[in-house]
Amino acid sequence: MTPKHCFLGFLLSFFLTGVVEAQPAHVCLKPQRVHFQSRNFHNILHWQPGRACAGNSSVYFVQYKMYGQTQWRKKEDCWGIQQFFCDLTNETSEVQEAYYGRVRTASAEIHSGWTMTQRFVPWWETKIDPPVMNVTRVHGSLLVILGAPNTPYRNQKGKNVSMENYYELVYRVFVINNSLEKEQKVYEGAHRVVKIEALTPHTGYCVVAEIYQPLLDRSSQKSEERCVEMP
C-alpha cells in the first residue's frame, strides 16, 4: 500500500469511527512512539502509552523479529508488563542485521493493535559512550590510559568484548590548563596509552577524552574530567 493510500485509509477510518462514536478503546490504547534506544549495543525498546482513554491498569506485550522473517517472536520477559520499556539486547545481537520490534496494550480485556518500530540496525544506530579514562602522574608528565566501552557480549574465554571489535575507533585527548582555562587537543589516534609531556610545574591540569568513529564521522560525548596538580 502506498503511503497516500494508507493516509486516506486512516482518514476514512478516523472519520467513520470518530463521527459516530468516540474513538474505540483499541485505537486509543495503541502504544505510541515505539522505538529502540541503543548504547554500546544495549538495545532497549521504549514506548509511550496510548492517548487518554488508557486506564491505569494497562499492560504491554512485546514481540520482535529479524527483518525478512515471517514470524514474530514473543519476548517472554516483556509479556504483560506495566513498564514502558523492554530490553531486547540479547534478541538483537547480530549487530549488522536489521530488526523490528512491536508493542500492543491490553486494558480491561481490550487489546490494542500493534505499533511497530522503524527498521533497526544496531551497528548503524547505537551510540557509543565516552572512553573509560585513567590519568596518573609520572614525574613531570601525565599518563593517560584509555579504553573503549564494553558491549554486552563476552568472548569464548568469558571476557567482555569491547566496542573496538566492531568499529575502528580513534581516541581524542584534550587538556585544560587550569590557569589558562583553555582546552587543547593533545592527542588523536588509536593508542590506548598516551603520555602528555612538557607540562608546567605547580600548575593544575584537567584531562578529558572522547571517542571518534571515523567511518561514521561521529564522536561520543566527552568523558568526565580528571584533574591533576603538577608538583
Partner: protein, 172 residues
C-alpha cells in the same frame, strides 16, 4: 500488483545498506574472500568515506519507512545459497547492476537528497567491477540473481525458508 511491486522495490532499496555492508565485508577480508581474479575486488577505501556511508544508510532508512513489508528480504541468506566466498563479489556485482538499472534509476527523483549522491557512488562501484568475471560455471549465481529479479518484478513473496539463521552476513 503495481503497489506490491513498488513495495518490493522499496524493500530492495532498503536492503542496500546491508549490501554495502556485505561489500565492506568482501573488501575487508584479505585472503578468503578476494578472488585471484583481481577485477572482482573493491578496495576497502571505497567504504571508508563517512559522508557516503552515512548517506547510504540514510537512504536505506528513508526507503525502509516506505516499505511496510517486513517479511520479504531480498538480500539475505537465500541470495547467497550455494555461492562460495570467492564468487560473492561477482554475485553482488549482478545485484548492484540490477539495482541501479531497475530500481534506483527509475526512482531517482525520490528520496532526495540522498538519492542524487548515492546513485553516482554505486554507479562508480559498478563501473569498477565492470571487468569482473568468473571463469567457472556461474549458472547457480545467475539462478539466485534471477530469483531476486523475479521477486522484484513480479512481486512474489519469498518462500518460508527464511526462518533459517540469516545472521551469517554479519558474521562473515
Amino acid at each position: 500488483m503495481a503497489t506490491l511491486q513498488k513495495s518490493v522495490s522499496f524493500s530492495l532499496l532498503g536492503t542496500l545498506a546491508a549490501s554495502c555492508l556485505l561489500l565492506v565485508a568482501l573488501a575487508v577480508q584479505e585472503g578468503a574472500a578476494v578472488p585471484i581474479r583481481s577485477h572482482c575486488k573493491l578496495d576497502k577505501s571505497n567504504f571508508q568515506q563517512p559522508y557516503i556511508t552515512n548517506l547510504t544508510f540514510m537512504l536505506a532508512k528513508e526507503a525502509s519507512l516506505a516499505d511496510n513489508n517486513t517479511d520479504v528480504r531480498l538480500i539475505g541468506e537465500k541470495l547467497f545459497r550455494g555461492v562460495n566466498m570467492r564468487e560473492r563479489c561477482y554475485l553482488m556485482k549482478q545485484v548492484l547492476n540490477f539495482t541501479l538499472e531497475e530500481v534506483l534509476l527509475p526512482q531517482s527523483d525520490r528520496f532526495q537528497p540522498y538519492m542524487q549522491e548515492v546513485v553516482p557512488f554505486l554507479a562508480r562501484l559498478s563501473n569498477k567491477l565492470s571487468q569482473c568475471h568468473i571463469e567457472n560455471d556461474d549458472q547457480h549465481i545467475h539462478r539466485n540473481v534471477q530469483n531476486l529479479k523475479d521477486t522484484v518484478k513480479k512481486g512474489t513473496i519469498l518462500s518460508a525458508g527464511f526462518m533459517d539463521d540469516m545472521s551469517f552476513i554479519a558474521r562473515e
